[in-house]
């Protein structure tokens, strides 16, 4: 069956009242949990999964998928408005989005985030529909060596997104990698740095870290400002971005789409890495990189497009190989299996209704989200009018619930609070937290792919040279490090001369 026929069938399935209804519910829930700090798509999906047991397969999976990409839309809202990312993929959005809100351009930032998400989501869905079989064979070529190369590239390119001191950025990456070592080692199953604690066997929970670093520390910082009588004033002036905004953003949106899609397809990638890399890329390309971190709309448009494109991208290995590339798609895989369907190369043949139905539902869901989000932005902005004395305790409460809900383990709440204090101290000392988070995400994957490569290679590190993909990625990484060293060296010399 061709793509067009398939899509036609998919739309005929999804455009029934019942399926549209579940798609709408998913989009709403997704937006909501995206907006709420702490409660990410993972927690929401695992809570709602049992409900889908009783539902028809298409409706159930369309709803769960809608929560996933709905969260990518919603996550930007709190990142822009109160500098607390709703979920990890919106961490970078807060860098410039929040500054835009402070400059009174919250509306444009939110509008651009929603429109960018829509454009990226739609383009990458078209790519998903047409290239799915083709991309599968590309994804299969990514073994451990190739993954290692790509992840090194991802990690090193984040150094370029750091504002201010490069040394501090490198320190944060190193610290993140160290933190990611805690827990059971991915290769031998040996425990590291757990001090005999059962709670630490899986390391610190990523959700707890993100909520603590960004949510709790932000509240601590804001409390200081409230106490000193300073209050951030934000008003909203028009949602529709200006002509200038469009001129600045259309290329970042397209680049973000490409980056997001590629990182979504790759194993170990996903929305979080994609948004970071997109930001780093935009800053690298920009004619005035110094605008970044001060409210550059490209810094919102790129990453927000990237995280949405990554969602569509990550559906490819899931649907065509039965291989989840991140925790959320792993849950979706569970949902398929519960429905008695095994995602894999045969799904398109055996259950075309489900395969194309889910893809069609994503087109529909993106439209629903755009229609929902633009008018709702006004509502979300009202959040800012809630007095801080009410808003902060509420956010803190939601953060605690979010950190707890992932594993049902109260230890995670302490992790969240601990990282909240750490985040506060680091922010006070002008350290940036986002490279840290990316390092925590990539650390275990990086270690695993490196050790896998070396174990399976008969001649040690030569395995990286033999793989064209790995060799290219590592070559570019080396070039980036070289550029960085030269830049640092020059600026040092500049300092001593003046």
């Amino acid at each position: 069956m061709g793509t067009i026929d398939g899509l036609a069938q998919g739309f005929s399935i999804i455009l029934t009242w019942q399926n549209l209804y579940f798609c709408l519910i998913g989009s709403l829930v997704g937006t909501l949990i995206g907006v709420l700090p702490g409660i990410g798509p993972l927690a929401a999906l695992s809570l709602l999964l049992p409900i889908t047991f009783q539902m028809p397969a298409v409706a159930g999976i369309a709803m769960l998928a809608a929560i996933f990409y709905g969260a990518m839309y919603g996550g930007s809202t709190t990142a822009v408005l109160i500098n607390i990312p709703g979920e990890a993929a919106s961490v970078v959005t807060s860098l410039d989005g929040y500054r835009m809100a402070q400059n009174g351009r919250a509306g444009a930032a939110l509008g651009m985030a929603a429109l960018g998400s829509f454009i990226a989501g739609t383009i990458s869905l078209v790519a998903l529909s047409f290239f799915s079989p083709l991309l599968t064979s590309v994804a299969l070529r990514f073994g451990p060596a190739e993954n290692f190369g790509i992840m090194m590239l991802g990690l090193v390119s984040t150094i370029f997104m750091v504002q201010g001191s490069t040394v501090k950025g490198v320190q944060m990456i190193a610290l993140g990698l160290l933190v990611s070592c805690i827990g059971m080692d991915v290769v031998d199953g040996q425990e590291r740095f757990t001090f005999g604690s059962v709670d630490l066997t899986n390391g610190f929970d990523l959700t707890a870290i993100v909520i603590g670093l960004f949510g709790v520390s932000e509240i601590l910082l804001n409390m200081e400002q409230v106490a000193t009588g300073e209050r951030v004033k934000t008003s909203i002036r028009g949602l529709w971005p200006t002509v200038q905004d469009w001129r600045d953003s259309w290329l970042p949106i397209l680049r973000g789409t490409g980056i997001g899609f590629v990182f979504g397809v790759l194993p170990g990638g996903g929305p979080v890495t994609a948004s970071f890399v997109s930001y780093a890329a935009e800053k690298r390309i920009a004619r005035q990189p110094e605008r970044f971190g001060k409210g550059a709309i490209e810094g919102v448009a790129g990453p927000e497009s990237a995280n949405n494109a990554a969602v569509a991208g990550s559906m490819i290995p899931l649907l065509s190989l039965g291989l989840p590339s991140n925790a959320v798609t792993a849950l979706l895989l569970g949902a398929f299996i519960i429905q008695g369907v095994q995602p894999g190369p045969m799904m398109m043949v055996q259950r075309p209704d489900l395969f194309w139905g889910v893809i069609a539902s994503m087109y529909v869901g993106n439209v629903i989200l755009l229609v929902l989000n633009l008018p709702l932005v006004g509502l979300w902005v009202q959040l800012l009018r809630v007095p801080y004395t009410i808003l902060f305790p509420l956010v803190l409460l939601l953060s605690v619930v979010g950190a707890y809900s992932v594993n049902g383990n109260s230890f995670d709440i302490w992790v969240m609070i601990g990282f909240g204090v750490v985040g506060y101290i680091l922010k006070k000392n002008d350290y940036e937290l986002s490279p840290f988070v990316l390092a925590v995400v990539l650390g275990p994957l990086l270690e695993q792919s490196l050790r896998q490569s070396l174990i399976m290679s008969p001649d040690g590190a030569m395995i990286f040279a033999r793989s064209p993909i790995a060799a290219t990625a590592l070559g570019v990484t080396a070039a980036l490090v070289g550029m960085l060293l030269v830049k640092e060296h020059n600026s040092r010399r500049g300092e001593t001369l003046t």
Binding site: P144, D199, T201, P267, I337, G340, Q342, G408
Partner: protein, 334 residues
Amino acid sequence: MKRHLLAACAALVWTGAALAQDGKAKLAALKPADFPTQPIELTVVYPAGGGMDYTGRLLAKFMEKHFDAKVIVNNRTGGAGMIGHNYLATQAKPDGYTLGVVANTLWADSLLRANGRWTYKDFEPIAFLNYDPLTWAVATDGPLKDKPLKQIVEDAKAKPGATRVAVLAGNTSEMLVENVELLTGAKFTKVPFQGGAPGITAALGGHVEIGVAFTTEYRGHIEAGKMKAIGVAGDKRLPILPDAPTFNEALGTKEILWQAWRYVSVPKGIPADRRKFLEAWINAALDDPELQEEFRKTGALVDRSLVGENKIMPEVDRLIGLEKAFYEKTGRLK
């Protein structure tokens, strides 16, 4: 004619309902006066969405069908199952309200990771749910596509380390490979992956030669003709893989058994009447053909000959004995 058919249908429906009623009545007779007065909690030690979670949720649904009481699933996750096992062994009250939906990973945790804080002897198994043996699979366009298991093992003996196997580190899949090595003298290169499915994908992409996984993890690839199973680490061949021999059959061994063996376990010391009632209740659910069909859909196998303490206990002891002997031989357990 039509009327007769209707009458027959009605009679069938009625007998079915009557049978269900009968089952409920039998359970009601066993029900202790003061139990249950609150919801029963099934503790699952792995996250929502996985195989164990699904097993637990299905059991809860069918327990509710066979007796009018609330059964909830609680995922106590973390530490690769250790947090939940710890909870069940040391914190859960032996009052019959907390049941563990566990698997043989409990034994490995008890033997290797509990450090004397608790052992599997702190639990009493009350019902066997299902089992799912691990398998070895190769790509149908890979170098091992035409080789029988015996030959592959011979080759790995002649050229140690030349054959790469994707395993889940520290897990039963790694134990399976080591067990084969131990018994045959073969040597494989064990490449660690984060689960069976990523390992299968690596085998598809030619990054390793063999993947170790449960059949659910690559059923799609089998049906598409891209992967084929070459060995089953169970007592007998699998209905969906009639051509794949068991390891013991192919290699002439008898102790290669590595599977997910799922059962319901309770903390030791539950009042006898509650225990008896719970056992009858769970078995009523397990006898339901609908539940058995649901289990089968996930690739798990049902064996209803293992009912009652005097049947389950010896089997648990036998399997733990095999695992323990293996850990001692490989130096994991001293």
